[in-house]
């Protein structure tokens, strides 16, 4: 396959950037999108140019590091992560636009790399349980109803990639935050912090400069892990309950 790429190039956080056009030859349909970018970077290095910076780590769809907006879609046209997207999803001769996550709370570091530490601070604000860790507890010591376990697991799938923020026209982190709040809030292990967790995490989310939710649903469409839109309604319910219950 022969492709034309238009890639966002920005040398540093405080400099201007622009979409820059590159031609890539001999792309195999079996390559992942990141392998295709690796091919481009090898050529750029041989030509003595600065390679395109992009985030990646596991390349198997589980770490949440990769973060590319491809043709206007966070993680591209398939419902998966950028690293698990394959070139067979494109046609020979296509022009493909590659951009970084766009949100005030995710400033560009370089090229396609953005700073997502705002997510870390939301997690630090309440995305934990204060249960003893150490040796594994007896599996049946804390019974969890099947429905709750399923609900928790569905939300535990979030990998913190930030595609929801990138896709949202308001740069809102509601889907990510709701995944964490719902995952921990429904389990007995998370019960002690049930109220403070949602209040603290939402406070932090607001403090980081993410936008509010207008229920456009773009986040849930982009999410590679299928965190559903009703998760936001579930978090709203948790927040309103906590706000009533624990004014402190």
């Amino acid at each position: 396959m022969k492709l034309t790429l238009r890639v966002w190039r920005q040398p540093a956080a405080d400099t201007d950037g622009a979409m820059t056009t590159y031609e890539v030859d001999s792309v195999s349909p079996d390559m992942s999108f990141l392998e295709m970018l690796d091919t481009l970077n090898e050529e750029l290095i041989l030509r003595g140019e600065d390679p395109v910076a992009f985030d990646h780590d596991c390349r198997e769809g589980i770490c949440g590091a990769c973060s590319l907006v491809i043709n206007g879609d966070a993680h591209g046209p398939e419902r998966t992560t950028s690293c698990q997207l394959h070139m067979r999803s494109f046609q020979d001769g296509d022009t493909i636009d590659v951009e970084p996550w766009r949100a005030a709370a995710f400033p560009v570091v370089k090229d396609l790399v953005v700073d997502r530490s705002a997510f870390d601070r939301i997690i630090q604000a309440g995305g934990y349980v204060s249960a003893p860790t150490g040796s594994a507890p007896e599996a049946h010591a804390t019974p969890v109803p099947k429905a709750d376990a399923d609900f928790a697991f569905e939300h535990a799938e979030c990998i913190g990639c930030g595609a929801c923020v990138a896709a949202c026209p308001n740069g809102s982190a509601m889907l990510f935050t709701s995944a964490k709040v719902n995952h921990l809030g429904v389990l007995p292990q998370g019960a002690p912090e049930r109220e403070t967790r949602v209040l603290d995490m939402v406070d932090q989310m607001d403090a980081e400069g993410f936008g509010g939710c207008t229920l456009t649903g773009e986040c849930a469409t982009a999410c590679p892990k299928g965190i559903p839109l009703p998760s936001i309604a579930a978090m709203n319910k948790e927040w309103l309950r906590a706000a009533r219950k624990s004014p402190r």
Binding site: D97, R102, R121, Y128, P132, C213, L240, A243
Partner: protein, 247 residues
């Protein structure tokens, strides 16, 4: 066994140690994006409830001037003899003004925040959301302007075409809908209202935490039905005047 060893959260922007945000009460509600949205949802639902009653009242125009003007008169004696003349009506007006102002201020503040949160646009843009979803802000502005004109036109009579007659709403309505601009302004606003309700009713359910996957279809159908019913009900009045059914 390692118990939680870090009892203080890492200080970061806004919510570091010693500067915890206010908890509980109206202030905390208003200061949070979720709380402010809840205010929008509740005020929106109050206005929605009012619109249903208002539409039913308007439909009485089809039963002639006697019934319609009598209904207008009843609005002023509503709640009597417990309430004095027009007290009931003023109570409703106060609730509505509070709802409209609260809704509009929250909408303005949240919209500003949303726009700031997404300063850079994508070079490659895609349009995916529904028309009703995309037009909530401009539709809201149209509704706000309409409300002002509507009150000046048919409640106070300041901008009424021809002689405004206090106590004769039937004739006033016919006068307004006998002008082309009266019809245009009204029809545009009603269509904007229909779209606003379509996304708004379902949104309010999500905001207040009533929505979930199981209720999704019921809520969407409810929103569409309500929007359609209100639009048809409100549109029927100017159409009736234009076609001479009401004159």
């Amino acid at each position: 066994m390692a118990l939680d060893t870090r009892t203080r959260r890492t200080p970061s922007k806004g919510t570091g140690a010693g500067q915890r945000p206010v908890r509980g009460g109206p202030r905390a509600l208003w200061d949070s994006t979720i709380g402010k949205k809840a205010v929008m949802a509740v005020t929106g639902l109050i206005m929605l409830g009012y619109l249903v009653a208002h539409m039913m009242g308007n439909l009485k125009i089809f039963f002639g001037p006697g019934e319609f003007n009598g209904y207008g008169h009843w609005l002023r004696t509503m709640g009597a003899p417990v309430l004095h003349h027009e007290w009931g009506l003023w109570l409703v007006r106060i609730v509505l003004v509070v709802a409209v102002v609260g809704h509009a201020v929250a909408a303005y503040q949240l919209s500003r925040r949303d726009i700031r949160a997404r300063p850079a646009k994508y070079a490659h843009t895609k349009r995916r959301t529904s028309y009703a979803t995309r037009t909530m802000r401009w539709g809201g502005v149209i509704l706000a302007l309409f409300i002002v004109w509507h009150v000046l036109d048919l409640t106070t009579g300041h901008t009424h075409p021809g002689g405004f007659q206090e106590g004769h709403p039937y004739q006033n309505v016919v006068d307004t809908f006998s002008t082309w601009y009266g019809n245009v302004i009204y029809l545009v606003a009603v269509l904007a209202m229909g779209l606003h309700v379509r996304h708004g009713f379902w949104s309010a359910a999500q905001t207040l935490g009533v929505g979930n996957a199981r209720r999704e279809r019921v809520l969407k159908a409810g929103a569409n039905g309500l929007a359609l019913l209100l639009t048809a009900g409100f549109v029927s009045v100017p159409v009736a005047v234009m076609t001479g059914l009401v004159s």
